[in-house]
């Protein structure tokens, strides 16, 4: 092979390796993140919230610096809430150490039955860092309304008493306190983890 031929061969090999490296390492950084829900360009901070947990008053501003995952549910919830909380726990596991920058909070839509202590027992069963908050009916109704959530009592079986139909979205508030993402109940733990990860930055 001539010297020129060798040079061309080396050139082609280097080019191919270069393209492969770009493909694996560089391109994913330029690919836009695809969210599992609706992203919001809010110019306002997430609605104010002042509720109570077993460990005292909780305000949204307490968590500035963390990504806050807000979910509305209740402890007697037969299916949707445990499924969602399990999924959120799995998302935190997927995030590993980065989960330190995340706070998952369940707001009770059943203040009559959910005491702060009961809520704490319930949510920490899914993940030790989860917090559960509640308040009087008027406060909970106001907070739920402003977070796009509606709930309504429905007849349950004799054994369980009433159930509550409620909006099952998962809401992400970014580290600066802006409400950024609304995820549907159907989203996977992997997708939720990826979206949280995006907002951790």
């Amino acid at each position: 092979m001539s010297i020129v031929g060798k040079r061309v061969a080396i050139g082609v090999a280097v080019a191919v390796i270069g393209v492969l490296i770009a493909w694996y390492f560089v391109l994913p950084r330029f690919r836009p993140h695809i969210f599992g829900g609706a992203v919001i360009q809010s110019t306002q901070k997430a609605p104010r919230l002042e509720l109570v947990s077993a460990d005292g008053t909780v305000r949204m501003t307490d968590f500035e610096g963390k990504v806050v995952v807000v979910y509305f549910g209740y402890t007697f919830c037969p299916d949707v809430c445990p499924a969602t909380l399990n999924k959120l726990a799995k998302s935190l596991a997927l995030l590993g150490d980065r989960a330190e920058d995340v706070q998952v909070m369940m707001v009770s839509v059943d203040p009559d039955r959910d005491t702060p202590e009961l809520l704490k027992d319930y949510v920490t069963h899914f993940h030790p860092d989860f917090i559960g908050v509640t308040g009087d009916e008027a406060t909970v109704n106001r907070v739920a309304t402003l977070y796009g959530v509606v709930y309504e009592r429905a007849e349950g079986s004799v054994g369980t008493g009433y159930t509550i139909d409620h909006t099952s979205t998962v809401i992400l508030v970014d580290r600066e306190g802006y409400l950024k993402l609304v995820l549907p109940f159907e989203g996977s733990a992997e997708q939720i983890a990826a979206d949280i990860d995006y907002f951790i930055g």
Binding site: P32, I40, R142
Partner: protein, 222 residues
Amino acid sequence: MRRKIILRSVIPVALIILAAIGFAVFEPIQVLPRIRLAPGYLLINQAAETITSEDVRGDIVVYNFGYSGCGDACASMNDTMREIQGRLDEVDVGDTDVRFVTVSFDSDTDTPPVLAEYAAGLGADPELWSFATGDPVHLQNVVKAGFEAYYEKRDDGTFTFDPVFILVDGWGVIRGEYRYQTSASDSDKIVHHLDILGEEIRNSHGAASLAYEAAHFFLCYP
């Protein structure tokens, strides 16, 4: 030789940057901003049935706020709603439904029969256009705090309020707020915006959705 290689690698990068600038400047795709989350609500409609924000999830909804005893103060607002209702064939929103909800803040007077009569008088299609009211405290949370539409009861029982239209998408996100009467008609603007929203929804799957996300990123707002 070397210059050629540099040139060859610079050109594609330059083209990408040019394309991005072109996108931002010429706005080939327009989208409506995702302003903020619409409030959740549970109200009673003119047929005495509950209507909630979950019932309209997946639908595009145009909201306005008033009351049956409002008379001339609501006339132009009601005309606008009726006009949009009549012009839905001008917009292509694919399989999505467009609905209208008029929220009354006069829950004392506006019982379902009163609202039904009011709706019929306005020529509202009951399949498309709901009239609803509810618990006064909940209404304050929904209308004042959530939709940010001001109203206050006067001593004589009438209300002072700001005429507002709000456009909400199927995700429950506010996409348009029409608060100030301008020389351009609100119905023209809202019909145009319904069309823009419809186009985004029809292209919300696959590769095209990325272009629409880019339009959001570059703030290609009408």
